[in-house]
């Protein structure tokens, strides 16, 4: 029963748990968190099972309610969706594990609705990744977005305004998606992705199809926060509670990027999208500007979470660039960067959360060598993630840059190559600014921290674990260690998963 229903199990269990939390909470408040982490664990296990099944026997199809497509809603699990779903669930699991350490400080007793919304968010994300039906994708997109608005809104005072702005832009984006879908449905008469793939080539000339595709890409572009449509992202990530920003930053924009890849290359044809219609070139140029814009603004920020938010805009630019170049290496680079950036941003936001929990603020100006003593392991995780963001070899970040560089050279577009390389320099600037402060800047003499640790210790930094709570430190280290594994094992990912599903016509 479990095996042949496995494609649908992940979103369903998450939905069931999300709904049962308010009922269970009548028994005891603690149950909310426990259900959340248990279900997230089960969802990760199911996605591992899915990936294994897809690995063994090719794409799986699951028809809801027994209705066969194109009438019924169908879940399609192919290597790409199985892998992205696994990454999403794994990162969410580690972030939830980290949330135990924070012990609901920032969500002030609203743990029950908070964890219910977290599960809804994951249900939405899993649904969007696995579904094979475009309207069903809209429904899960809305589930995902509404959970996002709620989770952000729970934060500090300005969070409500940030969430409101995100709600307005997000709903406009979703409505554009719906409108575009309407155009395509009227012309083709079907909503199922596989079915559309066969019908669309017959109607490519129709202007309604072009309008529909543009609206869908613009709608998902807002969700993906590609350069001009990213207005909501900095405030949303900065004012949200730590666990929310650690959840939404790695997942939110990545799932939207996955949907754009799915629509552009699997529903529509890669040749049509990059040849007849200059859609991908348009995305690529926007993404390139976004990379530079995001990196430059990240340098200008003083608050760490806002800096990470702008660096997210830049990193989304990488994914957009990979999509925009519409050649095999670009596709590999984009999908690999979806995975790498999920882990990188997860680590960085968890460390920002540790900083906030430990010293109440995460302003860069107030960082100094005292933090190396207080949060030794979190800072080590931060350094590893920073090296990966800059794109230095042993870590995963280098390899997505390597594929994007290959794609840019393949396409013969030197501007993109220059943008990719210059932006990693900009990344280096705003990350080494922090590393220098944390590792080299002696704390102001007057400020005594508790036991006045000896800065000039004769035998160098001992391996003591400082005042960090284990629960906060280990998730960050786990995620940053995964970056090394991803870096070393990326050939396995590329050959095993991504190269199997390079879209035809690329």
């Amino acid at each position: 029963m479990i095996i042949n229903n496995s494609p649908a199990l992940a979103p369903l269990l998450l939905l069931a748990a999300a709904i049962s939390i308010p009922v269970l909470a009548l028994l005891s408040k603690r149950l909310a968190y426990l259900t959340a982490i248990a279900t997230s664990l089960v969802a990760t296990a199911v996605s591992v099972l899915n990936l294994w099944r897809v690995w063994e026997s090719g794409p799986l199809r699951y028809h809801f309610g027994g209705w066969t497509p194109p009438i019924g809603i169908e879940y399609v699990v192919d290597p790409l969706s199985a892998f992205v779903a696994l990454v999403v669930n794994a990162v969410a699991l580690v972030v939830l594990w980290h949330a135990m350490g924070l012990a609901d400080e920032e969500i002030a007793g609203r743990a029950v609705p908070y964890y219910s919304l977290v599960l809804l968010l994951l249900c939405g994300a899993n649904g969007m990744i696995l579904t094979g039906d475009l309207f069903n994708l809209y429904v899960f997109l809305e589930i995902f977005s509404l959970a996002c608005y709620g989770l952000i809104g729970i934060g500090e005072k300005q969070a409500a305004v940030a969430s409101f702005r995100y709600l307005i832009m997000g709903t406009v984006g979703a409505s554009f998606y719906l409108l575009g879908l309407g155009f395509i449905y009227i012309v083709t008469g079907s909503l199922n992705m596989a079915d559309l793939r066969n019908i669309l080539p017959l109607v490519y000339g129709n202007p309604a199809i072009t309008a529909g595709l543009t609206l869908i890409v613009v709608g998902m572009g807002i969700k993906m926060a590609i350069f001009p449509l990213h207005g909501w992202l900095p405030d949303a990530y900065t004012y949200a509670p730590s666990t929310t920003s650690a959840l939404i930053a790695p997942l939110g924009t990545k799932v939207a990027a996955y949907v754009i890849i799915r629509v552009l290359f699997y529903v529509f044809d890669a040749g049509y999208v990059s040849g007849a219609l200059p859609m991908t070139d348009f995305i690529a140029w926007l993404a390139a500007i976004g990379i530079i814009y995001g990196s430059v603004l990240a340098i200008a920020q003083n608050e760490m979470k806002r800096m990470l938010a702008y660096s997210s805009v830049a990193q989304i630019g990488y994914i957009g660039l990979g999509i925009g170049m519409a050649n095999p290496f670009g596709f590999i680079g984009a999908v690999l960067h979806i995975v790498n950036h999920a882990f990188m941003k997860g680590t960085l936001f968890l460390v920002a959360a540790n900083l906030r929990k430990n010293s109440g603020h995460s302003d860069i100006a107030r960082l100094d060598a005292a933090y190396r003593k207080k949060l030794p392991w979190s800072m080590a995780a931060f350094t590893l993630a920073a090296l990966s963001m800059i794109g230095l070899p042993p870590t995963a970040g280098f390899f997505s840059k390597w594929y994007l560089a290959l794609a840019a050279v393949d396409k013969g577009n030197w501007v993109f190559l220059a943008v990719i390389l210059v932006s990693s320099l900009l990344n280096a600037v705003y990350f080494f600014r922090i590393l220098e402060r944390v590792y080299l800047l002696p704390p102001p003499a007057g400020e005594k921290e508790g036991e006045g640790f000896p800065l000039k210790s004769k035998t160098g930094a001992g391996l003591g674990l400082g005042e960090e709570k284990w629960g906060l430190m280990i998730p960050a280290c786990v995620l940053s260690f995964c970056l090394l594994l991803l870096g070393i094992g990326n050939a396995g990912i590329v050959k095993g998963v991504i190269q199997r599903i390079i879209p035809i016509g690329m």
Partner: protein
């Protein structure tokens, strides 16, 4: 050299991994210094032993290859102990033993803080250098190249003063930009050739090029590797990085880091582009002009530096370009001379840096103007310094003369007079900026009489000086440097071989 045959053996991987294994041990034994120092010395000895084991195989024409795993489709993280790799690895690991002994004395002498970080980063640097030496393809080369950058950063900023942090920042800007240029060039090469494996005599194998494309590609590669090879426009990070402790300047900025830069230049000239392609587009002329200009300018700038380590830094910049010049001339003798100079310059320059360190530890003197009468106070150190100095100037008994002689021969073989003139002129300039130091040290009175620095420091100084003299007398001593250099230049020019 018999027909080349590659056999798979794990030795190159051991060479790289040895010091990586030592890093956690060093970190764990942070509390008790002696144990930590033991790990460093043990690692350096084992590493030198492993590389030495590879030597007979290479001399017999057998190349040890080892593929770790595939890092991206079609390209593996592969190590290959070809003659050129073993040649460079031998120098780096050999001198690491001496530097470890020396830095123990130095660090203890000055009670430096954060010694564990110092020794751990040192170990990582050396494993990265081994990786660069044994890299079988360009992607592995980049991976270890960038790891070396990151591993040296903590050493450059070791003193944590304002100046050190600024030097670290400048170092990073230069080397990270270089890394990016290298990635761009490698991506372009991968597109043209489809495989990144080094091949003696060039890997492009007759691919058709437009002159502009090949020049841009060559400049990209040159930019990528030139920063670490301190070729003139890209050299200014080297003097500022002298703010690091002297053993760091000695091993890294005279042997490991800059030499891997020059190693990269020779790899690109000999194993990526290949002589035939360079000749066809006249790119080696461009490189030769750059190198020549660097030699002269660096030697002139060395005059102005009052700080001893800055003067040595500019002399290093000059001598690195000897090697680049030899590679650019693409004649059998010039290539042999350039490879030999990698070894010879390493032994001599490390002696000079060790002396500068000993003077600083004992008398806290850094500037040339303060060195009056230091010769009487520290006879052994200053004796070795004089040997090193005359060696760099290319005076006969020292090994410096051997490589300069080959370079001169090579420039005549290439039918160019200008390089020969540059070599002679720079020899004179060397004498010009080293003589005042020797003169002050021995013929002037003044320095106190606190005697030599600790034996742990003086011993390596004497050993490297004696080594330079012995290599001068018999270049093929112990490690057959001369025959290896000749065979490598033969393989590059001949186009056969690994």
């Amino acid at each position: 050299m018999t027909a080349v045959e590659t056999y798979s053996s794990i030795l190159p991987f051991y060479a790289v991994a040895v010091s990586l294994v030592a890093v956690p041990l060093i970190l764990l034994s942070a509390r008790h210094a002696n144990l930590r120092e033991f790990w460093t010395i043990a690692a350096s000895l084992v590493k030198f032993g492993v590389v030495f084991l590879l030597l007979p195989g290479v001399l017999a024409g057998r190349v040890a290859g080892f593929t770790l795993w595939e890092i991206s489709p079609g390209i593996a993280l592969a190590l290959k102990a070809d003659p050129f790799g073993v040649f460079f690895a031998l120098i780096a690991s050999g001198l690491w033993i001496l530097t470890s002994v020396y830095s123990i004395g130095y660090v203890r002498g000055l009670e430096e803080h954060k010694q564990t970080r110092y020794f751990a980063s040192f170990a990582v640097c050396l494993s990265a250098t081994m990786g660069i030496a044994f890299a079988a393809n360009l992607l592995t080369f980049i991976i270890f190249y960038e790891t070396l950058t990151i591993a040296t950063y903590p050493l450059v900023i070791h003193k944590e003063t304002k100046g050190a942090i600024a030097a670290g920042r400048k170092y990073l800007i230069y080397t990270l930009t270089a890394g990016l240029l290298l990635i761009a060039a490698t991506a372009w090469t991968y597109r043209i050739t489809g495989s990144l494996d080094f091949k003696a005599g060039g890997m492009f194998g007759g691919a058709s090029f437009s002159p502009e494309a090949v020049t841009v590609l060559f400049l990209l590669f040159l930019g990528g590797v030139g920063v670490k090879a301190a070729i003139m426009p890209l050299h200014s990070w080297l003097p500022t990085a002298m703010v690091a402790p002297t053993p760091v300047s000695a091993l890294l900025h005279a042997v490991a880091v800059v030499k891997s830069g020059v190693f990269g230049v020779v790899r690109i000239v000999g194993f990526v582009f290949g002589p035939e392609l360079l000749h066809r587009f006249g790119l080696n002329g461009l490189l030769a002009i750059l190198a020549g200009a660097t030699i002269i300018l660096a030697s002139l700038l060395a005059f102005r530096q009052d700080n001893l380590k800055f003067r040595l830094a500019y002399s290093t910049v000059g001598h690195l370009s000897y090697i680049v010049l030899g590679a650019a001339l693409l004649s059998p003798a010039s290539l042999t001379g350039s490879l030999l100079h990698i070894a010879n310059h390493a032994t001599m320059k490390i002696t000079l840096f060790f002396c500068a360190g000993a003077i600083y530890v004992k008398y806290h003197k850094e500037n040339v103007s303060e060195l009056d009468g230091i010769g009487r106070a520290m006879p052994w150190t200053m004796g070795a310094f004089t040997l090193g100095a005359i060696g760099l100037a290319g005076v006969p008994p020292m090994n410096g003369f051997v490589s300069k002689w080959q370079l001169g021969l090579g420039s005549l073989q290439a039918g160019e007079i200008a390089p020969l003139a540059v070599l002679v002129l720079s020899g004179l300039l060397n004498i010009g900026y080293f003589a005042p130091i020797v003169y002050r040290a021995f013929l002037k009175k003044g320095a106190g009489s606190r005697g030599e620095a600790s034996p742990a420091m003086v011993l390596p100084i004497v050993v490297t000086a004696v080594l330079s003299v012995l290599l001068g007398l018999n270049p093929d001593l112990f490690f057959h440097f001369y025959s290896m250099a000749a065979s490598i230049s033969g393989s590059i020019l001949g186009g056969s071989g690994p």
